[in-house]
Structure formats: C-alpha cells, structure tokens
Symmetry: C2
Subunit: 171 residues, 2 copies
C-alpha cells in the first residue's frame, strides 16, 4: 500500500470513529506513520482528503448497487434491496458510518448514491401494481437506513429484523 493510500484509509477509520472535525491532521499523520506535510502534498487540504475518501467510497458502493439494477424480476429487486445492509462486507462498514454521520452534519453529502436504486424500486412496485410506487420505494429506503443504523451504530445483528421486513412483503 502506498503512503497515499495509507493516509486515506487511516483517515477514513479516524473520521468514522471520532468524526471529521475532531480528528486532527496531526493524529492522522501519526497513525499512518507519515509526516503531516505529506497529507497536504497529496490532498491539498483536510477537506480535500475527505473528498478523496468519499469519491473512493462511492465507487466501491456502486459495486453492490449495480447487481440490483441489473435484475429483471421486481420481487427480486425489492428483496435484494432490503438485504442490502446485511450484504455490505464488514470492511466497508467504516465508510458507511462516516457517510451517515456526514449526512446529518453537512447536508452537502446527502447521498445521491441511492438515486438510481430508488428509481429501480419505484418501477418494481409499479409493475407489481402497488397503489403508490414512489412512496413504497421511499419506504424501502427507510428500511435500508434503519437496518444500516442497527448494524453500524448499535452493532446489532440485523438478520431477524431483515427477515421480518421480507415477510411483510411475502418475499
């Protein structure tokens, strides 16, 4: 791993656990075993470092949204969407925790990452003749957020909860 990557992943871990503002570049440098100056050489500013993390994370997250977008069976789309939080690998949890934190802290980061998924869900509900496909899709997003909160914040096992929700849709 290059020092640049090293800085990026160290910063991600610290931002996720203590928050962006209360993590100092000093600390990132120490934990990553690099000089503080190097952070600024590579990323320009602390904010630049944060952006690099987001960009990297978004591209990773596409990798588990893409497969759902490719599905044809509407029931399968709904099912896989609900299972999404459970299917995110542990190594990506830090990134998602950071993103959820930022969402509340700095509205700029309210994520468009899920826009395409919402559209897909809307279509799925429409083809299943639900009365209000848009709202139903929004509700699935609420489930995703809720399950993510359970997993990321309370470190709970969301398996049962996921199953309960799937049952409600007879999936």
């Amino acid at each position: 791993m290059s020092k640049k990557e090293n800085i990026l992943f160290t910063a991600l871990a610290l931002f996720a656990s203590k928050g962006y503002d209360s993590t100092s570049t000093r600390q990132i440098a120490v934990e990553a075993s690099v000089s503080e100056g190097l952070i600024f050489r590579h990323f320009g500013s602390k904010e630049g470092l944060l952006n690099a993390i987001i960009v990297h994370g978004i591209s990773i997250s596409q990798s588990y949204i893409q497969p759902i977008l490719a599905l044809n069976n509407p029931k399968e789309v709904i099912k896989r969407s609900i299972q999404l939080p459970l299917s995110v690998p542990g190594e990506d949890h830090e990134f998602w925790k950071l993103l959820y934190t930022l969402k509340w802290q700095r509205s700029e980061y309210e994520e468009g990452a899920f826009d395409s998924l919402r559209q897909k869900l809307t279509h799925a509900f429409r083809s299943l003749a639900y009365q209000n496909p848009e709202l139903e899709a929004q509700l699935i997003e609420i489930y995703i957020d809720g399950l993510a909160t359970e997993i990321l914040l309370r470190k709970g096992d969301a398996q049962e909860l996921t199953q309960l929700i799937l049952n409600k849709y007879e999936l």
Copy 2:
C-alpha cells in the same frame, strides 16, 4: 429571556445547523450578544453547555412521549407512535436534529429517551398477538427514525409516508 437561556438556545441552533465541533464558543457569544466568558461562567465548558441543552431537550421530549405511555388501546399506541415525528412542533425540530447528529457522532448520546416507548410498543404488539412483539416494536422505531429523517433532514412533508405506514397496520 435571561442571558443564560439566550446562550442555551443560540447554541442549540448553531449546534443543530453546523454540528457541535465546528461551532465555536466565540460564535455562540457573538450571536447571543454576550461575552464569551459568560458562557464558561454559566456552563463551565463547551461540553457542559451541550449537556445542558440535552438535559433541557430530554425533559421537553417527555411531554410528547408521556401521553402515549398513558394509553390503553394497543392499536392507539402504535398509531400515535407512528405519528410521533409528524406531531413534534416545529420549534423542537432543531433539538431533534442535534440529537440525531450526536447519535452518529458520539455514541454516548444514543438515546434512552425512547426506551419506555419501545416497551410500551412491545406490550401493544403482544396483546395484539403478533408473532414477534420485540421485533415489531423495533420496526416501529425504524419508522420513527425514517420519518424524522425525512422531516428534519430533507424537510419533506412526511404526511403521505405516515399515512402509508398506518395503512400497513390497518390503522
């Protein structure tokens, strides 16, 4: 309004909009038109100020949870719980936004405010003979969080979404 209260409400507004860490005591002092020293006289530290805000807010929030705890009809308990986010008066929105932000930022603040409500909901579902009352109660909490997010963060009108959820329980 005393200067002390003035500091408290000004800080609440700033913390809610920009986050705790990136709001300086300097700024609070300016916006509240008091000297910076006064903040520390009254609250000891910036952290102390935050605590005062939380304590004040928690006591307010009891005022809309209490009425639900007093209900006897289980269906009514569920209904009113789901309507909770919609029923929170606009003037309390800032406080809730702050609390949701802190929840992700500093786990200490993961709120026990709703513990009693969760118990009440569990009983309600049990008396309605639901298979898994605990999980069902947890799901209602997810609805509450989701609706709160819609209202507080996206400033959306959660009326339709609330109705959709109520329909699912035939309420």
